[in-house]
Amino acid sequence: MEQIRAIWRYGIKVGIIGGIVLILMSLIGIIEVFTKRQVIADFISMGHVLYLAAGLFVCYMAAKRTKPAKPLWVISSSFFAGLTTTFFLVLLIILGRYINLRMMFINASDLLLNNLLTFGVEGNSGMLLLLYVGMFTGLITGLFYLLPNVVRTVILWSLAGLVFAGVLQDLFRSILTNNFPDIISEWLLTSDGLTMKGAFAIFIIIALVIISWSIKGEGIKQGWQNLPKKQQLTWRTVGTIILLVIILVAPWRLGLFMSEVLTIVGLYVLLGLGLNIVVGYAGLLDLGYVAFFAIGAYVTALITSPEIMNLNWSLWAAIPFAIFFGILAGVLLGVPVLKMRGDYLAIATMGFGEIIRLLVLSDALRPFLGGSQGIGKIAKPQILGFVFKGPQEIYYLIIAGCMLVIFVSWRLKDSRIGRAWKAMREDEDVAQAMGINLVSNKLLAFGTGAGFAALSGVIFGSKIGSIYPHSFNIMVSINIVCLIIFGGIGSIPGVIVGAAALIGLPELLREFAEYRFLVYGIALVVMMLIRPEGLWPEEAHKRELHEGTAKEATG
């Protein structure tokens, strides 16, 4: 009796939730779109990996939640979770036979319902197969959960690494074909997906690395800490130089497409670092950040383009003007919101951002700003005859910008201003009582952030050549806020990680484009629920967050 109740509570209930989630996943079309890309050639596609991974996750959650964790109980609840989940999918398939689901759900195609969800087997035997797969997955997951912790970690990470390699095959392909003999890439990759041999090799290599790290890792860390300070410094310098060289040669070693992706990521790193000063350091949530980006781009366009003002200056001459107007706008828009805090500030800045976009878009200002047609023919920068024309050249401009911004952020962080910002972020009233001038410090934060945004606007404008108001909508602001928070608020490496994950990955997976914002949204919510400090958090911030929750939980 007890066990039946446990199965209901931990198995079937979780299975119902899992079933609904899997039905939603199928109906939004993500599985069908992803089946077009193979992870392992002729064996499994990305859609099916996603499908199975979701199923496994459901069973795993069921197993994990089962209390008391007796082996039989764990296995049975995981088994029933798998069965329930697939049962829901079977219901969907049966429903699809009698009703034309496509009237409502645009992605509920015949192919999805009768082929993809049942692993290629059609008809009633397909549904039966689906149920068997559910039960089997449940059993396997239950058994897997009972394995010792080390084994679980190794298998899980190796599988994750394998999937990751399959998903990012374009990246690996362009690295391998451009830099190594063809034999390696042929052995490892087909034109679509990994080879079976390659997949095994990757799995085993990752597993070996994890095992050896778990055995030797502590020793290596200890050894590093025991090294004299001087030696540590030399090694760090060597590491930094190697990293720099890699960064500098990257566009020529990776090809045009990857360089394009790198420039986009770089641009968002630049924007993210600028906003990081406002949001991360000073704690002012600014959702109108795109306005300053737009101001930078529009000033550049007006100064360098033959359209509208017909000044035809060089891009270098535009940079100081753009940055000046960016900072000016940052300070001017900062003044009215000085007294606002938290969500009110976010809304007010968003209002400003939208007002600026609507003004630029309107016909009233068309003679001055080009209206919805935008401004074209923006100059490309050049030095001594070297023109920054394609992504491979613009890349260096962006890297230079990033270096500058990283340097400034890094120096600002623990400076007097940086500490004043931090104090403001913690508690404005206390900061004021300590003699920090809120007005000037807030305006400094807004101005600095806006200046960096304007700089990115200059690069963006000259990169794409012509600008339209539609490029500067609120989504850009939200993207930037997302990547900062995802990476770790207030942390410089966090911004880079966040930009690579949220901007770079979707660029690499073109099928993904359609689900980009859905994944952003889910990532934000999940991140806030389980890891609010982000992927690569800044130490102090992480401490604060956890202290805060601990305090509030007890008090």
Partner: protein, 357 residues
């Protein structure tokens, strides 16, 4: 002994003076613009009357959505960014019901029954989404630092928006037209009034009155009010906080679902991003009326609707600005920003000072 005036004089800072001068300049510009427009006499009385009616219809929709923002802000002190998606989900789903009625020509024979069913479907879906939203995304973060629920709300808003995009596609779906509501009634002196506008205003008023009475008169309503007054004291008095917050979301969701159908009837189309702009406008309305204050949300909604429909003609046309209607949204955002700057407590709100926000 400093007088009151002297103390006041000392408390003024440079930023205050800057702000006041900005406000003053704006006020002067608005007045000059209005005078210029009125003297030029470009619009007839009929047109002004139309503006007012359209504004009221639009405003009553905003007011209904604003109720959701205000109620949630009251109990949780957070801006429920995802409320605009609650507003979208209902009519977008109910579209398929309405389209079915249209195809089977039930819409012709029983328009009112169909309308009621569409309302019920829309309100149910919106309510469900609002309930799940609170349960899944917001409840675990009840005690987190302020920024975290806000970011979660932005994330939830995106998730919902693109979930519905994935389910129902990216296209604009044309809402079927109820023949009952097409056409106009003639009033005196050549003034006409659109049937759909009248319906929207009355329906919105009905829902609002019902919700207001529910919150003022019933036991559950009393619980909602007590939680928004003081959560701890309410829980000491035996109010179930979790349940009350859920109910608040449900009420807000129902209002948003009804507003969504009205919106779809007026604009005759639905799509996955339809909630975004009305959502921000409704939030503006809530702030304008004083967030946390229910009659304030109604007043703010109507006022914002009027400002939006009369504003471009009245304030901007006098300056001979090209296509002033494109700046309709800019006016709404400007109202938002100005209210936040000059009177963050809103027109009717007193409880919420700058401090708490």
């Amino acid at each position: 002994m400093p007088t009151k005036f002297q103390r006041w004089k000392e408390s003024i800072t440079a930023t205050d003076i800057v702000m006041w001068s900005i406000g003053f300049v704006l006020l002067v510009l608005i007045i000059i613009g209005s005078i210029l427009t009125l003297r030029a006499g470009r619009y007839t009385t009929v047109q002004w009357f139309d503006f007012v009616i359209y504004g009221l219809a639009q405003g009553s929709i905003y007011a209904l959505v604003a109720m959701g923002y205000t109620l949630v802000y009251g109990v949780l002190r957070m801006i429920n960014f995802a409320h605009s998606e609650v507003f979208m989900s209902g009519p977008f789903t109910a579209y398929y019901v309405a389209a079915y009625f249209y195809r089977s020509s039930l819409l012709e024979s029983h328009p009112f029954i169909c309308l009621i069913i569409v309302f019920i479907v829309s309100m149910t879906i919106s309510t469900l989404i609002a309930f799940l939203l609170e349960r899944i995304a917001y409840r675990p973060l009840r005690n987190a630092p302020r920024l975290i629920p806000l970011i979660t709300a932005i994330g939830a808003s995106f998730t919902l928006m693109y979930l519905f995009r994935g389910l129902y596609g990216t296209g604009f779906q044309a809402y079927p037209v109820w023949k009952v509501f097409t056409g106009k009634w003639a009033l005196f002196k050549g003034l006409e009034i659109g049937k759909i506008q009248v319906f929207v205003i009355f329906a919105a008023a009905l829902v609002m009155i019902a919700l207001y009475l529910f919150i003022q008169r019933t036991r559950i309503g009393k619980a909602v009010r007590s939680v928004s007054e003081d959560k701890e004291a309410a829980s000491l008095m035996g109010v179930d906080i979790d349940k009350t917050i859920s109910i608040t979301f449900i009420i807000g969701g129902a209002a948003a679902g009804a507003a969504g159908v009205l919106y779809a009837l007026v604009f005759k189309q639905v799509f996955f991003m339809m909630g975004f702009i009305p959502g921000i406008k409704a939030f503006t309305a809530a702030v304008l009326g004083g967030i946390g204050n229910i009659p304030g949300a109604m007043l703010g909604g109507l006022l914002l609707g009027l400002l939006e429909s009369i504003g471009p003609a009245l304030f901007l046309d006098g300056y001979n600005i090209v296509a002033p209607y494109q700046l309709k949204d800019a006016i709404a955002f400007l109202v938002l920003v100005l209210v936040l700057i000059f009177r963050p407590t809103g027109l009717l709100g007193e409880r919420l000072a700058v401090k708490k926000a």
